[in-house]
């Protein structure tokens, strides 16, 4: 199924509750019956002629004629410029559901990064031009990659005391931490009179160069994890 459903295991059997044949109930986020199919927005899928479809794809297509389809959310597009990482970042920056403002900030950030780099590019002599990265999307992805921690720390209780134990992180968790640190750093630790897009562009450019506070935070987390290596065997999963 599309996005992971938060599931709740049926605890006690209560009289008169009937029984759920599936054994699990969807509690958070998606309230759709699992019977519903995800909407397909990519243009390439529909451009393929009948002959080129494989058997599974033919089966999926026949299923679409029978099963109901979930309504598409506002953020899915068939645009060629769609980037899921940027969409996730915009959602994390959003406050009180004001997606318009969050998107505006993101586009202004990308514009400012590009402006600074293109100006540098035009003022640089011929030999130095290839080294200057003008693509704001490349800088954004590079900055996030540089800020993603490899291991994290969790609190595990052993013998009455709590220890900080280094633990591997899933990809989603790493991406989330990098984005969260970036946003909180820009919101809290900068001068109050600067715009968010200025603060973000400075921090993103610094992170892509492996400098800046967010990169430092990641390095410190790695150091702490290295220091607590001795407790790694406390983890049982």
């Amino acid at each position: 199924s599309g996005s992971g459903l938060q599931i709740k295991l049926i605890g006690r059997a209560r009289a008169g509750s009937g029984f759920n044949t599936r054994g699990v109930l969807a509690m958070r986020w998606s309230r759709y019956n699992p019977y519903y199919l995800e909407p397909e927005v990519r243009k390439e899928v529909y451009d393929k002629p009948e002959t080129e479809l494989s058997d599974e794809e033919k089966e999926e297509q026949s299923l679409k004629a029978l099963r109901p389809i979930k309504a598409a959310t506002n953020s899915v597009t068939s645009s060629v410029f769609h980037d899921p990482v940027i969409s996730k970042f915009i959602n994390m920056m959003m406050k009180h559901g004001n997606k318009v403002l969050a998107r505006e900030i993101m586009t202004e950030t990308l514009e400012l990064i590009k402006r600074k780099q293109v100006e540098k590019y035009h003022k640089a002599p011929e030999g130095k031009r290839e080294e200057i990265e003008c693509n704001p999307y490349a800088i954004f992805h590079q900055a996030l990659d540089n800020c993603k921690p490899v291991v994290g720390l969790t609190s595990i209780q052993k013998g009455g005391k709590y220890y900080q134990v280094p633990v591997p992180l899933t990809d989603n968790r790493r991406r989330f931490l990098a984005m969260k640190w970036m946003i909180t750093e820009c919101r809290e630790n900068k001068h109050r009179r600067t715009h968010m897009y200025e603060k973000l562009s400075q921090e993103l450019m610094a992170a892509s160069m492996k400098e800046g506070n967010v990169f430092k935070k990641k390095i410190e987390l790695h150091k702490m994890a290295e220091a607590n290596r001795a407790y790694a065997h406390y983890r049982w999963w």
Binding site: V80, F81, E111, V118, E119, K123, C134, N135
Partner: protein, 395 residues
Amino acid sequence: MALHRMPLRLRQTVTHVRWLHTSGLGQQQEALVVEPEPEPFSVFRTQQNDPASQSEKHIGQFYTIPPADIRTLFPHGLPRRYQQQVKTFTEAAVMVRQPALEVISYLKETDMSKPAQRYMFYGLKGGGKTLSLCHAVHFCYTQGWLVLHIPDAHSWVKNCKELLPSSFNASRFDQPLQATEWLRNFKITNEPFLSKIKTRQRYLWTKRELTEEGSPLGELVDQGINRVKSSSDVVGALMKELRQQSGQPGCDFHLAVAVDGVNALWGKSSIQKEDKSEVDPDELTLVYNLRKMMRNNWTGGAIITTLSHTGAVYPPKLAYLPQELLGERGFDNMDPFIPVSVPYYSEKEFESCFLYYMDRNWLQHPMSRTEEGKKEIIFMTDRNPSLLDRICAFL
């Protein structure tokens, strides 16, 4: 065309461009066959930087305004986003478009003995009216005319920080800050004329300050810049002098009055008096004097104006035509004028703009350089120049 000398990624677009508009490029091809090709050759740029020699075959191509001209002529004239673009691309490239060429051709044939002709650029939001005005003003500057450029008449009827009662006429109000700023920019633009033109009247500013008859215009302007309190009256006096002197047998200058957002003069204002009652634009000295300038009772020059919906104070929502934006009073005052429509980019102009952005390394998203991305951009912007600029800014 010298396809073997062009970078690979431009070659495909060039052939695509060729199919769309054979007429314009066909002429260029003939010209090329005769002479050795100029280097570097590009479809979207022209080396003809003098507005006077630009013609129909340059439509859609970009010409560069030299930095010295930008500093003198446009200390305050260019739109804000365009100024940022000039700073980023380290050059000021303006597209040669049909409306500006039309007005320039009329300006070339103006009869200096007839009353001043009024031209008005109108069109939908973001169409390119202000830049067309700047193109026409650049032409006037290169021909040696005296340029009276009011960059945004809307800024005179809103957000006024200081409003003084006028010393000249008790029922009117002065705006010292806006007047001094404009005078400073006027001085930068028209430096050479300030010493040549002499005043024909004696002006008494206060009991001790006066400007004698026959003193150079520069003294008048300095008086306004130094004595902020009388700056609005100085602006009025300056306009009156220029109006009276232009077209006379003895004078050696042509006067170009360029106003951006002329519908502000006859619209509403958002300035309030101390008792919170609204100030009518009639009661502002600057607006009153500028309205007198807009009348065609003087000779020896031209009046080029733009309508503007974006900066206007409480305009009707979907209005863009002259009658709708000027209102009854404004239209009656401005009538007769030559309306010039400024549409969105044509296909050829859009291609040219796209190639220019690619040349300046502005389109960075890998998909924006493909055909599909281009189709999507056309769909999103409908070839509106300002929307195209805003969307390509983050792509």
